[in-house]
Amino acid sequence: MRKRILILLLILSVLLLFLLPIIRDDLYLLIILTIALSYAVLAASWDFFSGFTGRENFGISAFVAVGGYLVGLVTSGLGVPPIVSIVLGFVLAGIVGFLIGFPTLKLSGPYFALATLALVVIAQKLVLAFARTTGGEDGLYGLTYLAETFEGSYYYVLIFSLFSIGFLFMLGRSNYGLILKAIHSDEEAARSSGIRTIRYKLTSLSLSAAFAGAVGALLAHFYGYIGPDVVFHINLLVIIMAIVGGMGYVIPAALGGFAISLLTEFIRAFGDFKNLAYTIVLMVVILFLPGGLFSFLFKQSTRKARR
């Protein structure tokens, strides 16, 4: 019964998102929703690797940068349609994820986390060092827009994010996701059960990075612009979103991304105290709802299944 209500609620909210541009002619709302939806995908993709396997990825913005700068530096200039550059961003960021994971995920300890952190620093330095090509702090303007109207872009992002989150969610619920969770619980025991754990960690990281890259390309086309301010401030923010939403089930993390992104708009007035607000939200959630705000959606149903 409860599950049915939740599913109904989910369908209604999705429907509402689809009908919104028709119901209300509010450009500002559409823009913040578009951004919130892209953040939902980022939080979901972060969760799909780090929440499932327990290995912290501190470098998601590096993967976003791969997709974003691919558009800014290459595909937009070539006049490639956005869908193609999103796919290319997906593939390229996936490859970068694989390359960073291959040497570091075999090791236990903090090496992987450190490598991802280093990746962001390197990406940041590269953008500034090659300022003549990348635009440096100013970024690159005049990129192809996602669609001709804001409504068009909104629908583009809405469909993309529903597809991405749905895909990651289904994969997370499959046997593949179960193996990732087993690795999180006890990697040694998974290995002695005959599971080639490195393959699972690598594929999940690559997929997670790939979706981040796709979002990077998407955002670049949405803004018609790519610069350090689009990419690098989100690094810790995405982690906070996933933790606040709840890890290990994809959808709670996505909801966390969506909710915090909207919250960001409302606390814009706080100016420099914005980060303080994030931190307070994060601490309150960790202290009082350690599983995250939205993980109750899934925990209840598993407890029910046990009976």
């Binding site: 179960l178 969770k181 999180h184 006890d186």
Partner: protein, 251 residues
């Protein structure tokens, strides 16, 4: 005597200056329960860690049915058919009992034998029934009592259909009431033809369980024989009780 299923040749492991296992040469016969006995620090777990692919031996080799598998990593060794349990139970704590048993069914070894979810389901339920945990399949493993956790771990190892099952101190941390069901299922699976190697530092547990014992001390084999022979072996007694005990036993 049955065929040799697992064989080691001069297996050694050094940690810097410490020689944990020294020139270990032995055979495991198909269908037997072999006990490896030794006081703490004798090198038993180090030996298991080598046989299960966690440590690379410093010297020596080991063979599964004449196939040299010395330098395979843990997942490959499990895939080839040597599966272990751990001294301190290692379950997938976030998962249910059923899901714990499902994980080995998804390994490459079992993927070729269990084609779809129906096959896997049948396989899991069969084992759960034989280990008497079928009532608990949808429980989360964290809340189970210690004895039941050991049974689940044993069942998970069996779900991999191992050729050789290595049990690292299966009775550690269990009370006598919890030991009985575990002994019972071990004997049950041995009767069905499973080969088992069991590490233990208490000889008492071995008496009704194992057919053959290899006694170790300070990394070396000091005696081989039936549990009874081992119990009367002066060297074993000395390793356990210290010097002077030898005289005491012989008198």
């Amino acid at each position: 005597m049955n065929d040799v299923i697992l064989r080691t040749e001069g297996l050694s492991k050094h940690f810097g200056g410490l020689i944990a296992v020294d020139d270990f040469t032995a055979e495991v016969f198909e269908g037997e329960i072999l006990g490896i006995l030794g006081p703490n620090g004798a090198g038993k777990t180090t030996l298991f860690n080598m046989l299960s692919g966690y440590y690379k031996p410093t010297n020596g080799r080991f063979f599964l049915r004449d196939k040299d598998i010395t330098n395979r990593n843990a997942e490959r060794v499990a895939e080839l058919g040597i599966v272990r349990t751990f001294q301190i139970v290692r379950l997938f704590n976030k998962l249910t009992v059923y899901e714990n048993l499902l994980i080995p069914c998804l390994s490459p070894r079992m993927a070729s034998r269990l084609k779809d979810q129906n096959d896997r389901d049948r396989h899991i339920r069969e084992i759960a029934e034989e280990v008497h945990i079928n009532e608990l399949l949808h429980e989360s493993v964290v809340n189970l009592p210690q004895g039941t956790k050991k049974l689940v771990e044993f069942a998970r190892a069996l779900a991999n259909s191992p050729d050789v099952l290595l049990l690292d101190e299966p009775f550690a941390g269990l009370n006598p009431v919890e030991v009985e069901p575990l002994i019972e299922v071990i004997l049950h699976f041995n009767k069905k033809g499973k080969t088992l190697v069991i590490i233990e530092h208490k000889l008492h547990e071995f008496m009704k369980l194992v057919q053959r014992v290899i006694a170790m001390d300070r990394g070396k084999i000091i005696a081989t024989g039936t549990p009874k022979e081992i119990a009367q072996n002066p060297e074993v007694v000395e390793a356990y009780l210290g010097k002077g005990a030898k005289r005491f036993v012989s008198s």
